[in-house]
Amino acid sequence: MGHSITLTVNGTSVTKEVEARELLVHFVRDHLSLTGTHIGCDTSSCGACTILVDGKATKSCTMLAVQADGSTIMTIEGLASNGELHPIQEGFKENHGLQCGFCTPGMVMTAVDLLQRNPNPTEHEIREGLEGNYCRCTGYHNIVKSIQHAATKMNT
């Protein structure tokens, strides 16, 4: 039996029929064709599927689409505005905070939430904020630098 849900996705209102058991990540990828959000582990361990739900970084494989009814969500595709990269996106790009890129959207979205809550985090706070996101390529140091780059830019 389908359920009708209405939510705001990257600034646009969307109404869709979903199955009750549909995960939010599948809704985003399959119904909305927003494939920047990735599925890495199916067990909420890796963080590749992180998006913002009402501003809060959420692993979208841990939530049902129906639970997001009425919410405002933002995916990686909604972060840049008018072709201008968000400072966090710029940070990852400039600091080589990425390699294969599969974890990158989840990392970036987690960092957006982190800097909203704490605009001037210490290195330890950055690491604490990203502890739920795996990267198998970089060794993380450049990811920390990327977020420091963004924090500096956003604070000036």
């Binding site: 890495g40 067990t43 990425l98 390699q99 294969c100 599969f102 795996y134 970089t138």
Partner: protein, 762 residues
């Protein structure tokens, strides 16, 4: 995959993928738009590690609405065989299963969910047989996947009689799950008549093509394999991307519909092989100046149930059994042991790390027994110019000592050692450990035949350029490097060049993107293609300009000019002219690494184009109450040659180091005595997270002459840094010894917190 020309100013740190990655526009396999009519595949795999299939009940499964087919080995039109090196691995089990996770049936259904439920509705009776999970047991029963290998230099028997010190022991390294963040998968599409196009998340498109053709019983030209990029590989998609691609192709062959299969992480962990675990024995002999006179090693590789790449991995264990040291008398024997585990496979370092760990353990053992620092023994035995390896090759432009000396000097090792000594003297329950780890790694596929590549270049009539090579972008930055090569050859902006997908119809007979050699091989082939076009353009314009010497025509900054600046033409105008004059603006380049050879019967030759060197200094801190530890710093001097892209290369060092440290410390792959994977999800198989990496990673570039066989003299960088991680293990050993000088060290890796705790109180 085009880029903004303005990025040219940051020439040495180009990353053409970054703008796509940060905006989520990068297209991985599962992001391809699906065609109408697509079906979904899923594997039913064995739940027992060894047994005879007695009965298969599909009655409930076939009754599920939306099931199209349940495919067994009987449906395979060609050969039920996917073994790359040795034909010992069926795609789908016939009468016997050999490991938990071995595919038996392939379900093709209308949706992933239906495929999933169908899988659960299948029941198979299997009569269980005895299993082997330990390579030593397999060795005792002579269960091998391939012939044992021996490398020999000098005469160890005589040399041991001249030694002042002789030590024997055992060492053991665990497996390692690749955890490429993008799981395995493939998507097949009917392409008319018998032809099938496959999108695959593979490091080896030709391996996929060859395997699919074999299983479907068609010629290779009927199978097109296309790879845009992959979300990490690390060796796990070198050979083991082929089964899934073959399955979807088989599904398409039988249904004439597009078929897709993206593995769930749990399936991926269950069904795929890992880094080969090894159990080894060593015997090391030194004179009273601590010179290693003789080294013997026996290596028992846990190959799993089929050969896969294990025989080649076994070879590299022997190539690197003496790491960065010159040992005049060496005898090493290696056995690829057959066990009832998933077929183990390539993983960054390819058996080299497993070999290096053993000699490092032997040196540590010797140092402890003699009562000197391991660093003394390491230092006195480093390779010199012209040192001979056990496989007959001699070092050229050897940087082993240079890296070691620079690391110690530049990072103030002497002072550090004293600080650590003082710290340990004043702290009872927190101890620090130091270790140095030199690395020497040979670059080339050890199978000489594989060291070749091709590239295809089209210059379009508007001056834009399309480049195809056999390289797969998996995060290592090879796409950026290829763009640099092409742009540099033509003297034009990066933004004018588009790197195409890797496709077997454009570039055939590729070697996999592996062995750290991808940029070298494909880059050199690309240079060849570019230079052919360049030569034609020069000849044409020389005739126009009445210029005699082609070398005086320069391609730079999007224009072409005579050296004396008497003539000049813009790149676009030149190409337009060439087009009008019917000049061929396309070229296919080829490269085969010169000089290399290896004789498998004598185990002697010159298998490597060159070697990469480096030294890492580790400092760890151990909590001696709990066994927990952290790494204060890792400081590296690395031989990059002349790095063509510093940020890409630095990323490889950091990432490789951390991956190697994970293997040595926290990544514990566990199979129980029934062959059941106990670390079967990412919650209980822990890879390094953002907390567990060293607080400081410092990397200094040892700018060296590089090698003419390296692309633009920029040495290969993919695998060598992984082996720095071995130093993490020995820094923990040294911290343990600072707490308990009588501790028993088993030289079993990974050194988990649990093992540290046990050792502290042993």
């Amino acid at each position: 995959m085009t880029i903004n020309p303005k990025t040219k100013k940051k020439k040495n740190s180009l990353n053409i993928d970054a703008p796509l990655h940060v905006t989520g526009r990068t297209q991985y396999l599962d992001d391809l738009p699906e065609l109408a009519g697509t079906l979904y595949a899923k594997v039913y795999y064995s739940k027992v590690a060894h047994g005879i299939i007695k009965e298969i009940d599909l009655s409930k499964a076939m009754a599920m609405p939306g099931v199209h087919r349940i495919i067994s080995y009987k449906d395979i039109p060609g050969e039920n065989q996917i073994g790359g090196i040795i034909p010992d691995e069926p795609l789908l089990a016939e009468t016997e299963v050999h490991f938990i996770g071995m595919p038996i049936l392939l379900i093709i259904a209308e949706s992933e969910k239906i495929a999933h439920h169908t899988c659960e509705a299948i029941t198979i009776q299997i009569a269980e047989k005895e299993i082997i999970t330990d390579p030593i047991v397999a060795h005792q029963q002579q269960q091998y996947l391939s012939d044992p290998k021996t490398f020999q230099l000098g005469d160890t028997t005589t040399a041991f009689t001249n030694c002042s010190y002789i030590f024997e022991g055992t060492a053991e390294t665990g497996g390692q799950e690749h955890v490429y963040l993008e799981p395995q998968g493939a998507y097949a599409i009917p392409n008319g008549d018998k032809s099938i196009k496959i999108y695959s998340s593979t490091q080896g498109p030709t391996a996929v093509q060859r395997t699919v053709a074999r299983v479907l019983g068609v010629t290779m030209n009927q199978i097109e394999v296309d790879v845009n990029r992959i979300g990490g590989g690390f060796g796990g998609k070198e050979d083991q991307a082929s089964p899934w691609a073959t399955m979807v192709a088989l599904g398409t062959y039988l249904t004439n519909r597009p078929v897709k299969y993206i593995l769930e992480r749990g399936e991926d962990l269950q069904m795929t092989g890992k880094r080969n675990p090894y159990k080894s024995r060593y015997k090391i002999g030194l004179d009273n100046n601590y010179k290693i006179l003789a080294f013997e090693g026996q290596y028992f590789q846990n190959g799993g149930a089929a050969a896969d790449l294990s025989p080649a991995i076994l070879g590299r264990t022997l190539f690197h059994s003496t790491n960065s040291y010159y040992v005049p008398n060496v005898k090493t024997n290696a056995y690829s042991c057959k066990t009832n585990l998933p077929p183990n496979t390539a993983f960054r370092g390819f058996g080299g790390p497993q070999g290096m760990f053993v000699i490092e353990a032997a040196i540590h053992h010797a140092a402890r027994a003699i009562g000197v620092d391991a660093q003394i023994i390491q230092e006195r035995n480093l390779l010199e110019e012209g040192s001979e390896f056990s496989y007959g090759q001699k070092t050229e432009n050897c940087e082993a000592q240079n890296c070691w000396v620079q690391a110690k000097k530049n990072y103030g090792f002497g002072e550090r050692k004293e600080q650590v000594r003082q710290f340990n003297a004043t702290n009872k329950y927190i101890k620090k450990g130091l270790a140095l780890m030199p690395v020497c790694f040979g670059i080339s596929f050890t199978n000489t035949m594989m060291n070749n590549a091709r590239a295809l270049v089209h210059v379009y009539s508007d001056g834009s350029v399309g480049v195809s090579t056999g390289a797969i972008e998996m995060g290592q930055g090879v796409s950026s490097k290829m763009i640099q090569v092409a742009a540099g050859s033509f003297g034009i902006d990066y933004g004018r060049i588009k790197l195409e997908t890797t496709n077997t119809t454009r570039v055939a007979n590729t070697s996999p993107s592996a062995a750290s050699a991808t940029a070298d091989l494909n880059g050199k082939a690309l240079q060849d293609a570019c230079s052919q076009i360049l030569h034609r353009l020069k000849k044409m314009i020389a005739a126009e300009w009445k210029c005699q010497d082609l070398d005086t025509i320069i391609f730079e900054e999007n224009k072409i000019f005579a050296l004396d600046h008497s003539q000049e033409i813009q790149w676009e105008a030149l190409i337009q002219l060439a087009f009008q004059k019917r000049i061929n603006l396309s070229a296919k380049g080829h490269y085969a690494t010169p000089k290399i050879h290896f004789d498998n019967t004598t185990s002697k030759g010159h298998p490597f184009a060159y070697h990469v060197y480096g030294t890492a200094i580790f400092q760890s801190t151990v909590d001696c109450i709990r066994g927990n530890y952290e790494f204060d710093s890792v400081q590296i001097v690395h031989d990059f040659g002349s790095s063509m892209n510093r940020s890409v290369d630095l990323g490889q060092i950091e990432g490789g180091l951390v991956q190697g440290m994970g293997w040595m410390t926290m990544e514990e792959l566990i199979y129980d005595e029934k062959g059941v994977l106990k670390s079967g999800n990412l919650a209980n198989y822990k890879i390094p997270d953002i907390y567990s990496v060293p607080k400081e990673i410092a990397v200094q570039y040892l700018e060296t002459a590089g090698s003419d066989l390296a692309i633009l003299k920029s040495k290969a960088v993919g695998e060598p840094p992984l082996m720095y991680g071995i130093g993490a293990y020995f820094s923990l050993c040294n911290a343990i010894l600072a707490f308990n000088p009588k501790a028993t060290l088993t030289y079993v890796a990974p050194m988990t917190a649990e093992r540290v705790l046990m050792s502290l109180y042993s």
